[in-house]
């Protein structure tokens, strides 16, 4: 993630940090420009982290409204994108925790004919190694991802899916670098096991 994304194609040339400062100073359009620059990535991260479209939409909305209101507390110690990702990921994890208390079906799942809900669209389908990942395999891995504990899922989403540097992911998640590595490693291992078991079924 780059700290700023000034455009040379007619977009606002200011850096993210300059836009946030302008927003705090009263520029009514500045925060919207920051959001437009990063909303697709924030959306993708939220969608993968929550595994649910509506939850992701609500989490991104809540997070960005909070960021808009609390922008004066952004000190510039980290990149604006890191700050926004931190707020969005925390909103997703917060929702996941609340959902764990009041469980709902997190994904659009299909229960097997015998009522075996392990036969789900996504996680229970086979992985075919040694091939370019097919559309079906990509669905498998994202379905399997949704079965991991949210902390592991968030680490994998940031580091393995979106190439966020480990140190930055640690900052976003508020944990040590070693913890991010550990979560990623365990998450990959768990995913391999889920997908392997499904492939052998």
């Amino acid at each position: 993630m780059t700290p700023s994304a000034p455009g040379d194609d007619g977009r606002d040339p200011r850096t993210d940090a300059e836009l946030v400062a302008a927003h705090v100073a009263g520029d009514p359009d500045a925060f919207g420009e920051v959001v437009r620059r990063h909303r697709d990535r924030l959306w993708a991260v939220a969608l993968r982290t929550t595994g649910d479209r509506e939850e992701a939409a609500d989490a991104v909305q809540d997070a960005l409204v909070s960021a808009l209101r609390a922008a004066d507390r952004f000190r510039g110690d980290s990149a604006v994108t890191t700050w926004l990702h931190r707020i969005v990921v925390n909103a997703c994890l917060d929702r996941a925790r609340r959902r764990a208390v009041r469980p709902t079906r997190p994904l659009e799942e299909e229960v097997g004919p015998g009522g075996d809900d392990s036969v789900r669209t996504g996680a229970a389908l086979a992985v075919v190694p040694d091939q370019t990942p097919s559309v079906q395999t990509r669905l498998d891995v994202t379905g399997a991802l949704a079965r991991l504990p949210e902390a592991q899922r968030a680490a994998l989403v940031l580091v393995d899916m979106y190439d966020v540097p480990v140190a930055e992911a640690a900052e976003i998640l508020g944990v040590a670098v070693g913890t991010v590595k550990s979560r990623c490693s365990r998450g990959r291992s768990a995913l391999a096991e889920i997908l392997g078991a499904a492939g052998n079924r």
């Binding site: 925060f31 993708a44 991104v60 960005l64 291992s189």
Partner: protein, 270 residues
């Protein structure tokens, strides 16, 4: 499959991160391939987001230092107005108590007067029921029965500066609750309900209770106040035994926000 406690910084796991075995490297490739297929934020979600941000801007936007100072002044005015209501209510109550006073059930103002007479702390007590509709009155009169109790929201407007002063917040809320700690209470009202009820401050306070992760069943009430000059919610919850915990959170809390201060306060003897 190890999906359990992953908080530990396991050296082996960290080493495996840098040089993953083949199956895990394959998982990595799959994840990357899945990410490459991501699409932009859907138009309906983007439109909702734009609308929410526009509403937030109208609703006050960023809380700049200047605005916070203005908010502080506004809170002082609000506190003064509340005091006026209490005093005015006292006059009404006195009139009602006289042979020429109107009979029947008192208004919110007269209820406030009752509290003033009984030495209750000034301020408006608002109880949010499940539908988000508040009822105003005083803690002394509002006994907080299980039938009507939701989340108790007290607007003291006090500016708490240190942990010791949080005992006052606990006192304000306990006085407002008017119910013993063992009383059955209904779960927290949802912030959305409070928002629907037309009070964004109460909605924000309830949202901050959720952000703090304080168990709904343990919440005694919330004091809408200030912490060192900044708008804050003081969440008073049961801490076990004869103790309550006062947890301060900024009213513009964001998900994952840490409390600004916490203090355990012994429950004053009745």
């Amino acid at each position: 499959m190890r999906t359990g406690d992953d908080e530990r910084d396991d050296g082996d796991d960290a080493a495996a991160f840098d040089a993953p075995p083949a199956p895990e490297q394959h998982v990595r490739d799959l994840l990357r391939a899945a990410a490459a297929q991501d699409t932009a934020m859907p138009a309906d979600v983007a439109a909702r987001l734009e609308a929410a941000l526009a509403a937030a801007r109208v609703d006050g936007g960023v809380a700049s230092l200047g605005q916070r100072r203005r908010a502080r002044r506004f809170n002082r005015v609000l506190a003064a107005a509340a005091a006026v209501v209490v005093l005015g209510g006292g006059a009404v109550a006195a009139q009602q108590a006289s042979p020429f006073g109107a009979g029947g059930r008192g208004s919110a103002s007269s209820a406030a007067a009752g509290a003033a007479d009984e030495g209750a702390l000034p301020g408006v007590v608002e109880r949010k029921d499940a539908a988000g509709t508040g009822t105003e009155g005083t803690g002394a009169e509002d006994t907080g029965s299980a039938e009507t109790a939701g989340t108790l929201v007290v607007r003291s407007g006090n500016d708490y500066a240190d942990q010791a002063s949080l005992a006052d917040a606990a006192t304000v809320v306990l006085a407002g609750s008017g119910a013993p700690l063992t009383a059955t209470r209904t779960p927290l009202s949802a912030p959305e309900d409070a928002q629907a009820g037309g009070d964004p401050l109460v909605a924000q306070a309830l949202g901050c209770v959720q952000v703090l992760g304080v168990g709904a069943a343990s919440v005694v009430g919330v004091d809408l106040a200030q912490w060192r000059g900044t708008a804050a919610a003081v969440v008073v919850s049961r801490a076990g035994g004869d103790t309550v915990r006062a947890t301060v959170v900024a009213l513009d809390c964001v998900p994952g926000a840490d409390p600004l201060a916490t203090a355990d306060v012994p429950v004053p003897a009745a």
